[in-house]
Every structure is written in C-alpha cells, then in structure tokens.
Subunit: 472 residues, 2 copies
C-alpha cells in the first residue's frame, strides 16, 4: 500500500477532459476518510487533461478516499494509503498556542521570526536559489511572499510566469489558470518547507500593473479556491489575505470578509489566516482571523494588540533595515534589533525586512538575494535565547516591563535608554539568577548571587541591555 | 546726576517703619516718567526698615520718579537719573520675534538653548559657583530654575534659605518674606545675567515638603507680587509659572489664569511668560502666554505646537541625558542631540537636562555642578550653526522636512534613519550650495557643485546627518 508521511502531501492524479474549460466546467472533490472522520478536499485542474487532488494527512494509519465529479472518468475513483509517523524536522503545520503564541501541531514550540521577500519567487532560478541559500543560514522561520508579481520602486522587472493564461498586452483569460506559474510557486513553497520556513503567502496586494489587484468578485473567488486546492496540503502555508489591504481601493471590507470565509471553508488543514494593514487595521477580532498581522513601527505595543484581539500579535512590518529614502525602509540594524527585542519582550512577534540600495535593484525585501544588514545575526541571537527559554512568554510586571512565565522565567528589555540601575520586584519566596544581555554586542553576563523580592539592580549604563531572570 | 545703563537696574532705597508687618501694611509704588510716558513700579520691603524700588529703564535719556505710599516717610520721594546706552553683552530682555522666535530688545537674535538645574540656587555657594563656572563654558543661554526648594528623588537636602520667616518645624509666617532668601536669589539671577543666561524662573512646582505648593490664594498672590517687585528689573528674567502645573492638585486652572494676570499687571518689563506641563498642556492660546513651554519627548512636533498656539514652541523637557532608572532621565547623549536637531530643524526650540547618577546625588538637572554628558558639545555645535545662519527658521518643505528662509537658507535634519539618497525639491530659479553635516561627529562637508530644482542627493548612509543648503 502507498505510504505517506504524516503532514506531507498525498497526491493523486486523474485523467479527464481537456476540452471546453476544465477550470470552470469540471467539479472535482475527494472525501478522505479514516474511521468515522471524513475530510472533503477540493481537486484542481493542472492542464493537459490532468486533474489532481492533494491531501495533507494529519493522523497516522490507514486513510481511504473516494472522488466525486460531474465528469464520469473523474467520479467515484477510490484509493487507500497508509500514513507513517513524521520524521526529521517535520512537526506539522503551525497552530495558535496558548492564545497568544504558536506551536507546531506536534507540540514543538514555534517562535515566529519572519522576514519579507515579497516576490523572491518571481525572480528566476538563479536569484531564487541564492535566496534559498541565504535563508538556510538565516534566523528566519517565516517569509512573507506574494502569489502575484509586484510593481513598485525597485520592482520594474516582469515575472517569468503569470498566474493566468494570456498576456499583459492582449489581456488575461481570468477563467484559465497557467499551470506553469503554479508549478513554480509550489516548488518554491516546498523548498521553503524543506528549510523549515513558513510561507506567509500573500493572496492580494496593491502594487500591481497587471490587473490582479482589481479582478472581479467571481475571479477573486475562483482564484482563492484554486489556490487553496493546490496549496493547502503544504504544511508550511500561512494565508495572508493581503499586504496593505487598506490600500486596495477596489475591495470593500465585505470582500475581505468573504475571502476569509472562502478559504476557511475550503482549506482542510485550517492554516493560519491573517491580513496585513498599511494605516487602518482590519478588525482582527473577526472569528476567521487567527492572529493579528500588523504594520506599525513600535512592536512594544504588543500588549495592546494582544488584549485588543486576544490573539497572537505579529508585527510583520515595523520598518526595514536599509537605506532607501522612504522612511519605512531606512532604519538602522540597531534600530531594527531594538524593535525585535521590544516586541518579543512584550509578548509579541516581529518581522524583518531589508532595503539596502543595490546597483541592480536587488533589495532583499522584495527580491531576496543576500543579506547585507547588521540585524540578522542579532535576530538569531534573540531567537537562540527564545528557543533556550522554557516556553512562550507573556507580559508581566517585575517592577519594570518584561515578559515571562510567573515565578519561573522573565525576559526584560531595557531598550535604548541607559539607566544604570533598575528597580526590580521579583517574587519574595523564589530565588532567581540574573543574566545581563547586551543585545547589540551579543553577550550574556551572569550577575553574581541570587535575587528575590524588591531591590535595585545595577546594570551597565548603556543602551540595548536586556535581563534574563531564571528561577535558581 | 546718577547714571544707569539701559536695561540694567536703577534702585533706590528708602527708610520706613519696621514695626507692625511692613510686608502687608505698607503700600509703596513709584511712577517713573520720561516725557509723556509713565511706568508704575511696585516697591518692596527688604527688612530692617528698608524699602526698595527697582526699575529697568528701557530707553536712554533722563527719567524721573515720584513715590506714593500710605506711609509719610515713603510718600512723594522723587529723583532723577540718566540712562546711558547699553554696553557689552547687554542687549536687553528677550522678546518674541516674528511670531515663533525670540530676539533681544535691541534686535540681536536669541536662539533659545535652555538647560535645567531646578534648584541649583539652593545648594550653597561652593556648588553654586561651580555651576556658574560650568554654565560659563556651556552652550546654554537659558536655565530653568525654581524659586522654591525641591523635594524629590536625589533631592533630600534642606536649602540654606527659606522664602518666608519661620521654620519647617514651627511653621511659616506666610505674611513675612525672608530678605536673606531673596538677596541670595537675586545674586544668582544677576550672576546668570552676567553670563548672558536667561533665568526661566519657576514660580510654583509640585515637588515640595515645606508647604509651598499648597499655600492659600492670598499668600500665592502676595508672593507673586513680591517676586515681581523684587525681580522684574532683572532683564534676564522669564516667568515660568510652573514646572508641571498639572501635577499641582491644590491649584485650579482659574488659579493659574489669575497668577498670569497678576504678573502681567504688575511686571513693568513684560518679561516672557510660560507654563510647563507634565501630561496635560495649559491652553497656551491664552493671551497672557507668550510662548508654549512644553514637556514632550518629541520636539519634532514643533510645527504642530506652532500652528496650534501661534507662538514660539519651546520643548523645555524632552527627557534628559542620564542614567537614572526613570524613563525621563536616561536617554543617551546621542538621543538628546537628535531631539535638539529635530526641534530646531522644525522651527522649534529645545531644552537640555542631565541626570547622571552621582555618589553625592549631585545631578545637574537639579543641583548643577559639572556636566558629564556627550550632548552639550553637540548642542554647542548646533548653536554655532544656528547663530551662523541668516536668522530664525520656519518649517518649509524642500521635498523633505526642513526649516529655513525660502529661497535663501534651509536646514534639514535627516534623523536617526540612514537613507543613502534624499529626493530634494529646491526652487528652480535659484542656485544653492549644499553642506552635509554629521551632527554627531560634528563635521561639515561641502558637496561639490551647485543645485536647484528637483534631484536626488546622495548622502552618507548613516544616522544623524543634516543638510545646510544656502543660496550660492
């Protein structure tokens, strides 16, 4: 019997009609069953008379499936396969954990350290492979990337593939998807998966000269269903409904609500769902939003967003390290490092981006390539500290602002200020050891002795210090 | 005939009763006349049967005076004196100039570079003289200082003098001022004057254990009139009605309005009048306020305050360079330098303070002493640049935020960001030279060539740069 590893992709291919318009005329789903459980999964047309069904099994053991279609040759096809345990770095999809955090489905913690390469997947194989190589040695475990190509400053090149049949000059046939485009996108998502990187896949965005930002409702909906049918089986997908949804003037709030509900209805895996703002926040309280995906320069506001939405707060765009003239893309590596610490030490998550001018306009934030900045290695240092900790941390007051697990562990970021002393208020009846972290120099220095209760701690009178306080 | 230099103090002493309570029972004013002009000036009791009248003549030539009193020996005393031209650094009192700026009465520009030593004048002669020595070689031409002593962290010492007769233990006789206190205060104000430093004299403040923050209305009013009678003749006085007026819970807004009106009515010189907030701003639109005196961390907001109040915007407290644990007192010298530039290059004025911990609690912000920080020499560098400029500068857009004089001169601060290029929009028909200022390294580098119209200027990709753009 066919064997498939848990949380990988079971795929079956069927042959059917290639006449008419298979994208609109052929209906195909499969029901995957294990014991009393049935999971309906949409199939999709992949060109050349080929139809596919992809399924990510989330439990071990034997599964069966039966197809249903309005086409005889695709209807009532059945199969059986066995799901084997996950191996290696396969921990399953990322889920919300303890209201404000994330973990993989197998319980492994996931501290979200995202970066942004909006259209790295539209740059041709040479650059794309360089990007993957860079990511492999980077601190990042999530990447914000667009399905559609991007039109913007430093982004004037044409993509290699387009999602629909047709051309920019002669128009698109929005009823026919271009399989080559999707094969390429899938390959890149799989590449990311193999690097343990979540693909925070941006479904719509406003930076467009091709028309994809203002398709009609029928096209939008078909596009979403097709995307879900093709990609939901990749365990490392997060659905990001938009980059800067509020700049997409052709869409209403009702449109966004509908998009969420379509994906929520059709995605068998129930991947994470978010939507990213420019100025105005979407109402992240809506039930189909799993986490707030935020653009704001101060991730230290995480406690506000957490309590406002009661979901994980991910500041996906807090400005980028770089030197372009736009204010969102010219903060220093020191400033971005500060913002990371400020977010994490307030119970939030923060995303990276880099916008250093390049003679060929290869700016990481959009096209990938290599990293030039001073923040990534500091972000890795922070990630190492988070992963060495006992678990997700939440805001807690210990005389100063911190995040932690009461009576056990605290991480306090002292920020750009340079106080020489910090008045701490630790629990009276627990003894703690304290380490002083220089977040910029990446040093960790133990303070002699153990501590409890209320006292003044001497700290180096310089900016960017943090404290790690651990039960002795 | 007695000769007095313009804008210095003409003082006459009269002998009168020392029985009863001369502070409350004796009325004394003098009318100073020159040609058709009459200036009424309040006299004051200085102890030991001595009464004084102080007058700051603001025009040259012959002046006469006649006293009026309810006491015969003080009534109808007359005199004549000649006012000679101002010499040396005597430029008269500071006045508002061109709505948003300041100049001395003789037309000399005054760019306000303030510092803060709240109670330097309550520390005894040794430390006070050290403070004067420090100020002499500092970039500061204004100092925020309190009449009353201060009770606060790092401020637990008793002052040498108290403003009223009595003791803390046995209570104050609020109807009797203590001449020794006032002699000392006057001496220090005169010392500042001789260093060309404006005394931004804080009349009330909330940090008090002696009762001065909650005197009754009659006492408050008598205190204000007495203060004005004694001090208004010092040309370097600015009246600051409060430090953090909104923390003085015993006072209402009506009290503050009344205080302003009392001083406005009695001050013959019409010195500048401001009032400083903690959280809530006083309504600086009120007619008796000459400039907004602000506590806010971002002096880059100056354009907002300017347009809100149509008066000079002085951010007197934007946090202090130092290392105390309180957030208002532990920013770096780099950050304070940044805030200075941000304020000045937005048409505002900014004040300094320093709070480095000291083994004997001698923190500059409160007690004076010596300066330890890295910002003062950068503030001097900025002051030199301001004083080398053609005059006061106002917000103007040249593609980027700047302040300047249209078609003539612009100062643009590029801030903590590190863009490598700035898109400038200068007038088309004027040719400009451009200098790049490193505000932290204190270097000024000319850019080759001349510039006009719209173009991208390459700038060093590092924080804290500024541009000086001058008509060629």
């Amino acid at each position: 019997m066919q064997q498939v590893e848990r949380w990988t992709i079971f795929e079956t291919t069927l042959n059917g009609p290639d006449s008419g318009n298979p994208f609109t005329e052929v209906e195909l789903i499969a029901e995957f069953k294990q014991k009393n459980r049935t999971v309906p999964v949409d199939g999709f047309y992949d060109g050349n008379g080929t139809y596919k069904i992809r399924f990510m099994p989330d439990t071990k053991g034997t599964w069966t499936y039966t197809t249903k279609s309005n086409i005889d040759s695709l209807n009532n096809q059945t199969g059986t396969f066995t799901v084997t345990p996950a191996t290696g770095n396969n921990h399953g999809p990322v889920r919300v954990h303890k209201t404000f955090h994330f973990q993989y489905e197998d319980g492994t913690p996931h501290y979200s350290f995202g970066t942004t390469c909006y259209v790295w997947n539209h740059q041709g194989d040479t650059l794309e492979e360089q990007t993957l190589d860079t990511l492999k040695n980077s601190p990042f475990n999530k990447i914000r990337m667009c399905v559609f190509p991007k039109h913007y400053s430093y982004n004037r090149n044409e993509p290699e593939y387009y999602p629909f049949e047709g051309t920019l000059e002669n128009g698109w046939d929005y009823t026919r998807f271009n399989p080559a485009f999707w094969h390429h996108l899938e390959k890149r998502i799989a590449d990311l998966r193999d690097l343990n990187i979540e693909a925070d896949l941006i479904l719509f965005h406003p930076y467009d000269r091709w028309g994809f930002k203002e398709m009609d409702a029928e096209t939008d909906d078909r596009y979403l269903k097709y995307t879900v049918a093709r990609l939901a089986a990749y365990r490392n997908i997060w659905w990001s409904f938009a980059n800067e949804y509020d700049l997409m003037k052709a869409k209403t709030e009702q449109d966004w609500d509908r998009f969420f509900r379509i994906v929520q209805t059709h995605d068998p895996v129930q991947h994470l769902r978010g939507i990213h703002n420019c100025r105005q926040f979407y109402d992240h309280n809506k039930p189909w939003v799993t986490h707030s995906s935020i653009q704001r320069p101060d991730p230290g506001q995480s406690p506000t967003w957490r309590s406002q939405y009661n979901k994980p707060a991910v500041d996906d765009e807090c400005c980028y390290e770089g030197n372009v003239h736009q204010g969102w893309g010219n903060i220093t590596g020191q400033e971005l490092t500060k913002r990371f610490w400020s977010g994490f030490a307030n119970g939030g998550y923060v995303g990276h981006g880099e916008t250093y001018l390049h003679p060929n306009d290869i700016l990481w934030w959009s096209k990938g390539g290599v990293l030039h900045g001073t923040s990534p290695k500091r972000i890795q240092f922070l990630r190492d500290i988070m992963e060495a900790g006992p678990g997700p941390i939440d805001p807690v007051n210990i005389g100063i602002v911190a995040a932690g697990i009461p009576n056990q562990y605290y991480l306090a970021y002292l920020g750009p200020h340079q106080s020489a002393v910090k008045p701490l208020k630790l629990p009276e009846d627990t003894s703690f050891k304290i380490e002083i972290i220089d977040t910029w120099e990446m040093t960790i220095t133990s303070v002699d002795g153990t501590f409890n209760g209320t006292f003044d701690l001497e700290v180096p009178s310089k900016p960017f210090m943090a404290l790690r306080i651990t039960k002795a």
